[in-house]
Subunit: 345 residues, 2 copies
C-alpha cells in the first residue's frame, strides 16, 4: 500500500493525503481524520527511501567504528554509548548507520557517507591525538560530534567528553589523602586522547604534593585483564612497590586485583585500587556495593548527549560548535584504604 493507492481509495489526491498525514494545516480536520483512519486500517507506512529522496535528508546518523588494524579491538564502551544515543534517535525518527572500518580507509568512509548522502551527520568514536577526522569533517561540512576530544586538533568542533583530567586528579588525590605515596597508573594506550588527559590528571596530583612521578609506575597499553595483571605483577615486584593503583578500566583492574592477591596481599588493606568506571551495563562495578572505588561517568549518558547534539547540528548546521563536559562522581568502594606503612592520623 503506497501513497497513491491510499489516495485513490479515499478519492483524494496524493498531495492532500500526504499533508493530512504530516500534520500540515491546510487540510480539513474531518478529512485528516478520515485519512488517518484509512492509513491505520490499511497499515500504510510511507516508504523511507522515497521520503529520503524527496526531502533530501537521510534521516540517519552515522557511527563509524574504527577497527584498529594493529590490535583488532572493538571499543567495549561502544555498545552502551549506542544504547544511549539510540534512545534519542528513536524519538526523533532517525536511524543509526554503522560502519565498521579499519582505520586506514576511514577518510574514504567519511567522504562517502557524506557525498552519497547516506547520513546527515556522524558521531566520532575513539578520539586520538591530532585526530585527522576533525579537519576532514570540518572541511566537508558534514555535521559531527566527537565522543571525546582531540588534543592538537585545529579549530573548534562539537564534543561530549568526561573530564578525564579532573577525574584522575581526584582519584589520585584521594589516594594521596589516604597516605599513599607510591601510586601506580595503569592507563590505556596513549595515542588515545583520554589516556593522555588521565595521565596529566594523575601527574598533576602527584606533583602538587611535591612528589616526583616515577616512570616505572606508569603503564600504558591495551586495557585487558592480562595486561593489567602483568603490569601490576611487575610493579609489585619492585623493591619500592606501589601501595596503590589508579586504573583506567575495570577490565584491567580485574587483572591488577589478581596480581595483588597472587602476592598474598589484600585489596583495600595492603594495596588500594581506584578505577575509572564507564558504568557499562554488562560490566557493572557491583550492584549495590561497588567492587572498586571509582570515578564514575555513564557512557550511556554521553551517548544521549552526543546524539541530541548532532541532531541539533543537523537541524541547523549554522549553529556554532557545542561542548559538553561530564564530571565523574567519586564512588567509594572497598578497594581503597589507608596506606599500610604510614597510617593517616
Amino acid at each position: 500500500m503506497n501513497l497513491k493507492e491510499l489516495a485513490q481509495k479515499l478519492g483524494l489526491s496524493p498531495t492532500t493525503v500526504s499533508r493530512a498525514l504530516n500534520g500540515y494545516p491546510e487540510v480539513n480536520e474531518a478529512t485528516r481524520e478520515r485519512v488517518q483512519a484509512a492509513a491505520k486500517r490499511h497499515h500504510y507506512r510511507p516508504n523511507t527511501r522515497a521520503i529520503r529522496l524527496a526531502t533530501g535528508r537521510a534521516m540517519a546518523v552515522g557511527h563509524v567504528i574504527p577497527l584498529a588494524t594493529r590490535h583488532e579491538i572493538v571499543n567495549p564502551i561502544f555498545a552502551d554509548f549506542i544504547a544511549g544515543a539510540g534512545e534519542v534517535y528513536a524519538r526523533a525518527g532517525y536511524d543509526i548507520v554503522l560502519s565498521v572500518v579499519s582505520d586506514e580507509d576511514e577518510e574514504r568512509t567519511y567522504r562517502d557517507l557524506q557525498a552519497r548522502g547516506t547520513v546527515d551527520g556522524v558521531i566520532l568514536h575513539s578520539m586520538r591525538l591530532d585526530d585527522p577526522r576533525i579537519p576532514l569533517l570540518n572541511e566537508t561540512g558534514l555535521p559531527f560530534v566527537a565522543h571525546g576530544r582531540s588534543t592538537g586538533a585545529p579549530g573548534p568542533y562539537s564534543w561530549v567528553d568526561v573530564n578525564n583530567r579532573r577525574a584522575f586528579r581526584r582519584a589520585t588525590d584521594f589516594l594521596l589523602d589516604l597516605g599513599h605515596r607510591r601510586i601506580a597508573l595503569v592507563n590505556g594506550l596513549e595515542y588515545m586522547d583520554f589516556a593522555i588527559r588521565r595521565r596529566s590528571g594523575y601527574v598533576e596530583a602527584i606533583e602538587a604534593r611535591g612528589i616526583t612521578v616515577d616512570p616505572a609506575l606508569m603503564f600504558s597499553d591495551e586495557m585487558s585483564e592480562t595486561r593489567g595483571f602483568r603490569a601490576a605483577q611487575a610493579m609489585l615486584a619492585l623493591p619500592d612497590a606501589p601501595t596503590a593503583f589508579v586504573v583506567s578500566s575495570i577490565i584491567s583492574a580485574f587483572g591488577v586485583r589478581r596480581a595483588v592477591e597472587e602476592r598474598g596481599l589484600r585489596v583495600g588493606r595492603d594495596v588500594s585500587i581506584i578505577i575509572h568506571d564507564d558504568d557499562l551495563s554488562y560490566m557493572k562495578n557491583g550492584d549495590d556495593v561497588p567492587i572498586f572505588t571509582a570515578t564514575r561517568s555513564s557512557v550511556r549518558e554521553a551517548g544521549r548527549r552526543a546524539a541530541a547534539m548532532v541532531l541539533d547540528l543537523i537541524a541547523d548546521p549554522t549553529l556554532p560548535p557545542r561542548e559538553s563536559l561530564l564530571e565523574a562522581e567519586l564512588i567509594i568502594g572497598q578497594s581503597t584504604g589507608p596506606a599500610p606503612d604510614r597510617k593517616v592520623p
Copy 2:
C-alpha cells in the same frame, strides 16, 4: 555533482553514463573509460537515496538490539559480532542499520523496518525460548538470520549458533575426567536459549556418570562479575562445596575466581574453573597463556557467517533456510586441575 551534470559535461546521456559506471556491456569501452575518468576527476558519487528508490532495494541489513527493559543490559558480545558482520557487508556494499529497541516494541520495529523498506533483511540477536520474532518474520517474508536458535519456535528458519550443548558437555566431561564430582554451573539467564542448551549439556555429562545433579550447584542469572562472585561465594560455603565451576561467561568467571581466592583457595589447584569464551576482542582470555580453561568459539566468526547468510537470502529469498553450527574448541589453561580430594590415577 550528480549523474545528470556529469552526463552533460561528457556530452552523453545519463543512461549511458549510468551504464558505463555500472559495468553494463552495451557501452563502448573507450566511452566507458572516458566516463570513469571523468567520474573520478569530479569525485562523482552516486546518491544512495536515489539508487535505493530506483532499485527498490535498501542495500542495508537491520540489526535490532533488544534492550531488556528488566535489566537494561546491552549484550556485550554485540560489538564483536557486528565487527565480523561488518566485514562481509562492507565488501558487498551493504550498510548496517541499528535499532536499539526495548523489548516491548520489538514487533512494531520489525514490521516498520520491512514495510517502510529501510532494510532488505535483518539479523536477530539475543534469541530467547519460543522467540516470537521467528513466526513474525516468517509471516512478513523479510529475510532474516538468527544468531542463536530458539527452542520451541515453529517452523524452519536460518541461524548461526555455537554448539552450546556439546561445548558444555565437553567442559563438564573434562572436569569429570579430572576427578571432580561436585561441579557447579554458573549460567546466564535461562530465558535465553543458549543458557538452556548449556545447562542441558552440563546435566547430560553429569548424569552420564550416574551422578545426580544438585540444584544447589546450578545458578542462573545475569552474567556479571558480582553475580558470579555471590553465586560462587554461596556455593563454596556449602557443607559439600563444589570443587569445580563451569561458567557461562568470562565476566562472571572473574567473580567466581574472586570468591575462590577470598576463601583462601587457589584456582587450578583447589578449585577448577572452566568457562565459555566468546573470544571478544576487548575481553581476551589471556594473550598467549589462557587465563581460564575454556570452550572457545569466536563470536566475530559467527557474525561473518550470519552476514554472509543473510546476504544470500536477500539475493534469493526463495532459498531454503540455512543452518550453521559452530563447534567450540577446548582450550586448556591453568584454571583447571585434578580434583583435590581424590586424585586421578
